[in-house]
């Protein structure tokens, strides 16, 4: 009895495993351009990974529905080959090798997070195959002379530039600044860049404080902010940290005139968790759903936002838009190159000047997108772009916690 049962189980497993092979081989018949992507389906980065996959898939479908990519008079369909990198850089770079050696993909789309992008981009460099990524902004990716990686997130060091420029328009303009940052690559670059910019604008930095990634206790830092009497507080960290910081600032009644954060305010989770306490906090983004750029695959940004929401049932943020633009840049560059040759496409990407729903995409010499971030503010539980060309004026100074209801 037992034997039969076991044999059936094995047979069933075998069918389940090999059954999946069939349709894949059949679909490869049509003329296709394969884009390879090793991205997080499982592990710590899986949530962000999904943001990229959704947008990649949507963009690829749009390209294919519109007749594909035209190379030398022939139309090619785009197809993405995905693998799960388990949020692990070693695994990810191994899978890039698999994509190039076994799946023979033509080009590469990036993973999520700078720490995974770097080893992946080194494999791309080794094979001289261009990779366009929208999930890593650290300057470290572009600092090593790698000519095969192109990024569509603006340089981390410039992230708070728009916020600082906005402060010059405020009355009275804040003069002192406290800068907090997490100790990961991206945020360290943000902080160092901001420090330079602030010095250039004559702002006085009264506190420059690093904290460990995933810190949940900001009490001592908040006490220092209070002691230093900083008029403006900028936090370069992650959603969780931004959340904790805001909650504890309220508990300790720390009310500077302006609180700005890199990650958090633009996300729906942040506003939902904090409720009314999220109001008046400033955020930055390389993109916001309220912008309206004329697009390449879609007519404009608003059309993208509408379609995206209808399809995935959540508001797109800059991750999605950046990923969507990655595919758009590939289509444009391949068509301009007029061939699938990796070197030709690489050179075409470098010369990109494309209007996309994500904004105008041009790359600097090091491969990173030229661009500027916009300032957002939460007002009445919603995010509005407030600078430059805001849909609403910024509310300043920050109403003290005690004065609120």
């Amino acid at each position: 009895m037992k034997n039969v049962w076991l044999r059936n189980l094995v047979a069933l497993l075998a069918v389940a495993l090999f059954g999946a092979v069939g349709p894949q081989t059949a679909a490869a018949q049509a003329k296709t351009i394969k884009l390879g992507c090793a991205i997080s389906f499982t592990g710590a980065k899986s949530r962000s990974g999904k943001l990229y996959r959704d947008a990649y898939n949507m963009a690829v479908k749009q390209v294919n529905d519109d007749g594909g990519v035209k190379v030398g008079g022939e139309a090619y369909q785009l197809k993405i080959v995905y693998y799960d990198d388990k949020s692990n850089p070693g695994e990810s770079s191994k899978l890039i090798e698999k994509l190039l050696a076994e799946d023979k993909v033509n080009f590469l789309l990036g993973p999520y997070s700078s720490g995974i992008t770097i080893p992946d981009s080194l494999v791309a460099r080794r094979y001289r195959v261009p990779m366009i990524e929208g999930g890593g902004a650290s300057g470290k990716i572009f600092s090593h002379g790698n000519k095969y990686v192109f990024g569509t997130l603006p340089p981390a060091g410039q992230y708070f530039k728009s916020t600082l420029e906005m402060t010059q328009t405020l009355k009275p303009a804040p003069k002192t600044l406290a800068l907090l940052y997490a100790d990961d690559k991206f945020d360290v670059s943000v902080a160092e860049g901001t420090k330079k910019l602030a010095a250039g604008m004559g702002l006085k930095i009264v506190l420059f404080e690093k904290y460990a990634e995933h810190t949940s206790d900001f009490n001592s830092i908040l006490t220092k902010i209070k002691a230093a009497n900083a008029e403006m507080v900028l936090v370069a960290g992650h959603t969780e940290e931004s959340l904790n910081f805001t909650q504890q600032a309220k508990e300790l009644n720390v009310s500077p005139k302006l609180i700005g954060m890199t990650v958090g305010p633009s996300e729906a989770d942040f506003r939902k968790s904090l409720g009314a306490d999220a109001n008046y906090i400033f955020g930055v983004a390389s993109w916001s759903p309220q912008m309206n750029f004329p697009g390449f695959l879609l007519p404009d940004t608003q059309e993208f936002v509408k379609k995206f929401k209808a399809k995935f049932n959540y508001d797109p943020d800059y991750h999605n838009a950046s990923a969507f633009a990655n595919v758009a840049v590939f289509k444009d560059a391949i068509e301009r190159a007029g061939s699938l040759d990796a070197a030709a496409v690489r050179n075409a990407i470098a010369k990109t000047d494309l209007k996309t729903i994500y904004g105008r995409v041009r790359f600097a010499k090091n491969g990173q997108m030229k661009g500027a971030s916009v300032v957002l503010q939460i007002q009445g539980g919603e995010v509005y772009q407030v600078f430059p060309d805001g849909v609403r004026p910024p509310i300043y100074p920050f109403p003290a916690w005690k004065s609120r209801r």
Partner: protein, 322 residues
């Protein structure tokens, strides 16, 4: 020559040519896959020395991997020395660290030892994240190997293979030595071992240092291959768990068990994640659980007992009272 030695020589005679010829038949990815498999075989075998033979379940062996990787990065990138120097320094550094940390930590037993080693690895990660010379949490680049692509794959594969062979040979000779018997005696009953005159502190520390040495060498090659490392990725507890699962899956306290475990776990894991993009972790977990239930002495037991029947599985279940 006893029977066991004959089997081991036969094992080497079959496996070695197969491993040597392996890169000639595959594409670049297959070679890279093989290289990773060898890397985990080294680490599982190294874990086996302290965990399997000595009976000290280290949950922090990744610390040696991370140290090896970071020593390699710093020696090559900051001091500009060639790889072979970095490789030696990585192994030596990891072994030295094992001695320093082993002296206090090896006094603990059972769960306390496991938790202490876990803590050591986390503390080391925090240290590396904050040092200037390691470029902190941002990660550090290594110089890239300047060779044609295919040659690079051969290079890393054969270095890893050579390291594995040395690891297995060292384990083999260790087991035939006085020290090897001392380790097994410690595993079976440490108090009894001490009472018959074994210097348990010295024996345990040497075992820990050997474990650290080989794990550090694996970390060194890995870092050079990746050309970029980050504290999170080389000090993650996942790597410790992986070496432990591999050693247990293949057969703890046997020479070829961890190697078999590393190969089968890597193949199963690759196979599953190839076909199930998300659910692979679920299936993988189920397989590991089934393996522990049905073959608690590891896959190697199926070979050495030469039995593969329901009766064997049932006997295992009865013996281990599951």
């Amino acid at each position: 020559m006893n029977k066991k030695t004959v089997w081991r020589i036969a094992g080497f005679a079959v496996l070695l040519p197969a491993a040597l010829l392996f890169p000639l038949v595959g594409n670049n990815f297959i070679i890279r896959f093989g290289t990773d498999m060898l890397m985990f075989a080294i680490m599982a075998s190294a874990w086996n020395i302290i965990g399997g033979y000595t009976g000290y379940a280290s949950f922090g062996n990744v610390v040696f991997f991370g140290i090896g990787a970071y020593i390699t990065a710093v020696v090559m990138e900051k001091a500009g020395l060639p790889f072979w120097a970095a490789y030696m320094a990585a192994g030596g550094g990891a072994a030295l660290f094992a001695v320093l940390i082993g002296l206090p930590v090896l006094r603990l037993k059972g769960h306390y030892f496991a938790i202490a080693t876990l803590g050591v690895a986390e503390a080391m990660k925090a240290l590396v994240q904050n040092l200037k010379i390691t470029e902190g949490n941002a990660g550090i680049y290594l110089p890239m190997l300047d060779m044609p692509i295919r040659t690079q794959y051969y290079f890393f594969f054969y270095i890893m293979l050579a390291t594995l062979i040395v690891t297995l040979l060292a384990t083999h000779f260790l087991l035939r030595s006085r020290l090897g018997y001392a380790l097994i005696a410690i595993r079976e009953d440490e108090d009894a071992a001490e009472s018959i005159g074994i210097n348990t502190t010295v024996a345990k520390t040497i075992a820990f240092a050997l474990s650290g040495l080989f794990t550090g060498l694996a970390g060194s090659v890995h870092a050079y291959q990746q050309a970029f490392i980050k504290p999170d990725s080389v000090f993650t507890v996942h790597i410790t768990v992986k070496m432990l699962v591999m050693a247990v899956f293949g057969g703890m306290g046997t020479l070829f068990g961890p190697l078999l475990g590393a190969c089968s776990i890597e193949v199963i894991s690759e196979f599953l994640s190839n076909y199930f993009l998300v659910a692979h972790t679920l299936f993988f977990g189920a397989i590991v659980i089934l393996a522990i239930v049905f073959t608690p002495r590891g896959m190697i037991d199926l070979f050495s007992q030469r039995r593969l029947s329901i009766a064997y599985f049932l006997q295992n279940i009865r013996e281990h009272r599951i």
